[in-house]
């Protein structure tokens, strides 16, 4: 057991619970940023003896994007919209936390049963990653604000990144950079769209976007 790694993983789990229980948007953006930074640091504690140049580059780019570029883009998009809180989500905060705890238990159970190679590093890593993905998906369906949905997408991305770290350690650098570039452009485009939504509808509630249906 690696005490540093486990501490980081517990941080990730706590950040997810905080995301579920918080109504204020700006702290939520910060929490996702912290989560991104922690995820970026994980590889250094995941049991490799030698630290390669490749690891450093991937970590630096990923921390730079998730910890600094993404929150900056999202905060900028939020500035146009005069919205600081998620008011009346589809699922209340107490209920969300309860769902979170159940999801955590489910993630633990699934993580134990999945026949994944490389989980010897820490028995908590895969469950934490699954939990992060579940929280992301839950945020997307249970919240009204477009911004929270973007945060949910980022949480899913974080969770997948953590699983990828366990499963696919030997992926070429180019692919890794491509994935990060895509994530960056995605947040960039979503940020612009958020800005447009706040101008068009005077707020960023997705509830109003219900014109198109059959």
């Amino acid at each position: 057991m690696n005490i540093w790694l486990d501490t980081l993983i517990v941080l990730v789990v706590l950040s997810n619970l905080k995301l579920l229980g918080s109504s204020r948007l700006v702290p939520c953006i910060r929490i996702v940023a912290v989560q991104g930074v922690v995820m970026g640091l994980l590889p250094f504690f995941a049991g490799q003896e030698t630290i390669t140049l490749r690891m450093v580059i991937v970590a630096a780019v990923s921390i730079g994007l998730k910890g600094f570029a993404f929150p900056w883009l999202l905060l900028r998009a939020l500035r146009g919209a005069d919205m600081r809180r998620e008011v009346e989500p589809f699922v209340g905060y107490g209920m969300s936390l309860l769902v979170g705890v159940i999801a955590l238990a489910a993630a633990m159970w699934m993580g134990k049963r999945l026949p994944l190679p490389g989980v010897h590093v820490s028995s908590l890593l895969v469950p934490a990653a699954l939990f992060t993905m579940m929280v992301g998906l839950f945020l997307i369906v249970s919240r009204k604000k477009a911004l929270t949905q973007v945060l949910g997408y980022l949480a899913i991305e974080n969770g997948i990144y953590a699983i990828g770290m366990v499963l696919a350690q030997e992926q070429p650098l180019l692919i890794e950079m491509g994935i990060l570039l895509d994530a960056f452009v995605a947040v960039f485009v979503m940020g612009i769209t958020l800005f447009r939504i706040s101008r068009e509808f005077d707020n960023i509630d997705t509830e109003q976007m219900a014109t198109l249906k059959d």
Partner: protein, 486 residues
Amino acid sequence: MILALILVPAIAGLLAFLIRQDGLRRALLVLTALAHAGMVGYAWIERPGSLFDGWLALDPIGLLFVSITSLLFLAAAFYGVSYLAHEEHGAKKDIEENLFFSNAPEQVFTGCLLLFLSTMTLVTVSQHFGLIWVAVEATTLASSPLIYFHRHHRSLEATWKYLLICSVGIALALLGTFFLAASARHVPIVVADLLKHANGLNVPLLKAAFLFFLVGYGTKMGLAPLHTWLPDAHSEAPSVVSALLSGALLNCAFVAILRMQQVCIAAGQGPFGQDLLILFGLFSMAVAAVFIVGQTDYKRMLAYSSVEHMGILALGVGIGGMASFGAMLHAVNHSVTKAMLFLVAGNILAAYKTKATGEVKGLIRVLPISGVLWMAGFLAITGSPPFGVFLSEFTILKSAVEQGHMAAAITFIALLVVIFIGMAGVVIAMAQGEPIGTPPARPRREAILAVLPPAVLGTIMLGLGLYVPPVLTEAIRNAALALGAL
């Protein structure tokens, strides 16, 4: 050569953002489309070699789908010039609600259109699963500004749904990619390498990877129940973009699933994926049938028809054998026909200023050329002989019966009949009758560039029903062979 296919439209796209003169930018669009089509045509004569340890290569499947993409883009580029020339600048009145909106700058539109071509080409030539993922996500990002060309709240809603649903869906495909990498252990996840070392793959992880691929790329491909973004995006985007989304983009996501199925077959896990594909395929057709019957918006009707045909593609590959050949042929037929229908829908929308089917009457009198093309397109897309779609659907059906998939074959036929009746009700009512309005709309002269591209696509569609050239048969056979057919 392969690099040029990707880089020429990419560079042209970046240039388009900078060029201020409309004429020059439109010329660049058409020239790039011509250059791309020319290079793809040359690739049929002399197949380019693979690049970067086999990361980029034009295999039979890639060649087939890049050719479809290139052909449609060429038609769309010519049509786009006429479309852009007729779009007014500045604020204008919305046709559905009482509000004003303006268009996105034309630079952004043309630039994104060219980048869209570049990313779609990258999907078809990528052999590395990580690169495929990067390219598919890039197509989403390049095309979302295109859907938001008309800046009003409906297109914004469509763009948001497209962006979020597809991004989340494709994120799941990334998870699938990681599972695949874990299953392959030290083998690079390049199609050719995986096929060579297929016996060493970890089977449970491979199955998990296939599931995530199907759900992830299936979202992008528009397989029900993951299709919810599709009707909105197709109905709100400019028709020229809808044509590309439907005819080229959905195919690209399908290519990603095909490559995974290739690996599964090589690893002896073909039946696992096939059953799932049949299930998703028939379910997509059923959902499309429900929404096509009684549809009041003709662009949404075409969008649901795309869901139906993506279902047919999945069904064909799921049945396997000769049906895989049918599915590859069907991909060509569907793309050509659907792109033509969307371009014609654009002409109807421009003339009638409404997307409601009930308010379009006497189409054949008002727009003689578009009206005839609309009727022909309807007959073709619903699988009437002598058009190409009939041939490919018949091939799939025949193979399904021969291989004993009786339940699937009967459901397939029943759904095709329902969809035929549903679409017939809408389309015939639009084409026939007295033009409404006071005074009644009179026949119009149609711009040559607005009718020529769909007319050419229509000719190809008819031609493919009467005679499939041996070169094309050979190419489709090779693509189907890669999927373990025959």
